[in-house]
């Protein structure tokens, strides 16, 4: 079974994770900085310049979004990079004419609860599958792993029927329930918990710790970086989720931010000064959070990406 071999292959990486080493910082031992003559320096300068231009190209849509969002309606098609008459009215109009605050709150609530739930249950399941030898463990693991192959789109129709049946449509639980435990997270946490030494667990057992206390007090603190990465991934995924919240919500008050923005923008009749203000309101909070935690977020993406 390939998961076994992947697990073995992952073992050295887990040490790095447990010691908190930055897998990207490890690359400091590159062959690059050999000082060198003017040709080398010129090439290096050119590389910095080209990558900077490319990088500015990458973030330019956000710059353009902000510029457009502070223009007066009559200036929007002038396409100047400097707004002739900057204004925050568009933001005020969006905030006044939509349930933005409510949508923001909905997204925050749904993404937060889902993240806490995933962090807890995926850790628990991952730990159990990594550290207990019980009849049926392999079957359960394969069962959970196999769900990764089923695309969400295949499940939305049955989920929708379930939601109708149990009257979950247009409720927080209705938006959340498909995501409160994640198969990818179970797989990921199992990989990381396999790196926790068995001696540690046995020693705690001899000290009379209960199994849950061993999990909670000994195993979990050792894989904190992995749990943090899983949390980041889960939060971002749920914050930006679109297709399921679009299907399961009905009333305006229950929409999540992406769904609300989508409806507002398509009903705004090409008033792009308002649409850009709405897009900015949806992206800027995420951008701020990302700027603050960028090191951890990028590290987390690497961790989860490489294990998955």
């Amino acid at each position: 079974m390939s998961t076994e071999s992947q697990n073995k292959g992952a073992a050295p990486g887990i040490g790095d994770v447990l010691s908190g080493a930055d897998p990207l910082a490890a690359g400091q031992l590159r062959v690059v900085s050999r000082g060198g003559g003017w040709k080398v320096r010129l090439a290096r300068f050119a590389l910095y310049a080209i990558l900077l231009i490319g990088g500015i190209g990458m973030i330019f849509p956000f710059v353009w979004m902000v510029i457009s969002s502070i223009k007066m309606p009559q200036d929007i098609y002038s396409l100047s990079l400097v707004p002739p008459d900057p204004t925050l009215n568009n933001y005020r109009d969006v905030l006044n004419s939509t349930d933005y605050v409510r949508w923001f709150g909905n997204s925050l609530l749904i993404a937060s609860i889902t993240t806490v739930s995933v962090a807890f249950f995926d850790s628990l399941a991952g730990y159990t599958l990594a550290k207990f030898n019980f009849p049926g463990a392999t079957v359960i693991f394969i069962l959970i792993l196999s769900t990764l192959m089923v695309p969400t789109e295949m499940l939305v129709i049955p989920w929708y029927m379930m939601s109708i049946e149990f009257e979950w449509t247009d409720s927080y639980w209705g938006v959340m329930f498909p995501g409160v435990i994640s198969a990818f997270g179970v797989f990921l946490m199992r990989q990381f918990f396999s790196g926790v030494p068995n001696d540690l667990i046995d020693a705690a057992r001899l000290d009379g710790f209960s199994e849950f206390r061993i999990f909670w007090k000994i195993a979990v603190p050792l894989v904190k970086p992995a749990i943090a990465a899983l949390c980041i991934f889960t939060f971002l995924g749920n914050w930006n989720a679109y297709i399921w919240p679009l299907i399961v919500t009905r009333s305006e008050e229950m929409r999540t931010l992406p769904v609300g923005i989508a409806f507002f923008s398509s009903e705004a009749q090409s008033s792009f000064h308002l649409i850009m203000a709405a897009a900015a309101l949806a992206t800027i909070p995420v951008l701020i959070i990302f700027m603050i935690f960028q090191r951890q977020i990028i590290k987390g993406i690497v961790l989860t990406g490489l294990k998955g």
């Binding site: 390939s2 690059v32 990558l51 849509p61 207990f132 009849p135 695309p151 992406p258 990028i298």
Partner: protein
């Protein structure tokens, strides 16, 4: 009866795994089988009768031009999007790897689009693609265009594709960077001492050692592109996959069939998701095969 120590531990394990297991059975595995079941019916949620029609939904696809359009488009997204985005991101990662200073700053620049909502950035791009928008304005200064972008069946799919590639680059770059860092420097040095040129070192050392990363990014890329939905619903005219169905994808078509039109054709939509599932299954199996062959070599 006294429980042995081992059995007591089993009980703990079952208690720990119970809720996740029930969740996966009820929310993932059960519904997956149910989708197969629905795909064998003519299924309108508000109709009283939901007759069993065998494989009729699947044979109906053969004569459905929109299905084939969506099928073709979806594979166009995959076949162009995956190689192009992987090439660009590998190139950028190779450049970023050579930087010694401001590495974090550069990484952030390229990574930002990946964390933002597709709906919001989709609208930003839609605004830039407007006939009298930024792109045409900029291109007209160097006497190119104007283009219809999202407005013409010839260019709309590619316009959406450009935005999709832009949005996903950051993730691929970060994973490529991690893969490149894991290649031991000694291999590169040994090849350099043997007189290999930069290009030879790239083809002979970097690419083979980067193989696991390439496989991983290709598979996740193919699966993601197979499921494109949000950007098409956001950027195509009226969100319907237009103009003239030139941008419609399988997932968008499923959404329309099941949730947008009356009478709702949930059976037919489920049958299309089954086709999608089979394609993803095939790709996953190929990946498993590639990975296990890799492991046997060591």
């Amino acid at each position: 009866m006294l429980l042995t120590l081992e059995r007591r531990r089993w009980l703990w394990a079952y208690a720990f795994i119970l809720i996740p297991l029930l969740f996966f059975l009820a929310i993932r595995i059960g519904p997956a089988f149910y989708a197969f079941w629905v795909s064998l019916h003519q299924w309108d949620p508000i109709a009283l009768q939901r007759p069993f029609i065998g494989l009729d939904n699947f044979s109906a696809m053969q004569d459905d031009p929109v299905f084939w359009k969506a099928f073709r488009n979806t594979w166009l997204y995959v076949i162009i999007g995956v190689p192009v985005s992987l090439s660009i991101s590998l190139l950028i990662a190779l450049g970023l790897q050579r930087l010694v200073r401001y590495v974090g700053f550069y990484r952030v620049l390229y990574f930002v689009p990946y964390v933002t909502s597709l709906v919001a950035v989709g609208w930003v791009w839609r605004w830039m693609y407007m006939p009298n928008g930024l792109f045409n304005d900029a291109l007209s200064r160097i006497a190119i265009g104007p283009f219809q972008w999202l407005g013409s069946p010839d260019t709309a799919l590619y316009s959406i594709l450009i935005m999709t590639i832009w949005q996903g680059l950051g993730f691929q770059i970060i994973i490529f960077l991690a893969g490149l860092e894991s290649i031991p420097v000694v291999y590169q040095e040994a090849a350099a001492i043997d007189g290999a040129s930069n290009w030879q070192r790239f083809l002979g050392v970097t690419i083979p050692l980067l193989n696991p990363t390439l496989v991983f990014l290709t598979v996740t890329g193919v699966i993601n592109y197979l499921q494109v939905f949000t950007q098409i619903r956001t950027m195509s005219s009226a969100g319907t996959g237009g103009p003239l169905n030139s941008t419609i994808s399988l997932v968008l078509y499923v959404y329309q069939q099941a949730f947008q039109q009356l009478p709702s054709k949930m059976g037919y939509a489920s049958a299309i998701t089954v086709v999608l599932f089979l394609m993803i299954l095939a790709i996953t199996l190929v990946q498993l095969k590639l990975f296990s062959r890799k492991n046997n070599e060591y």
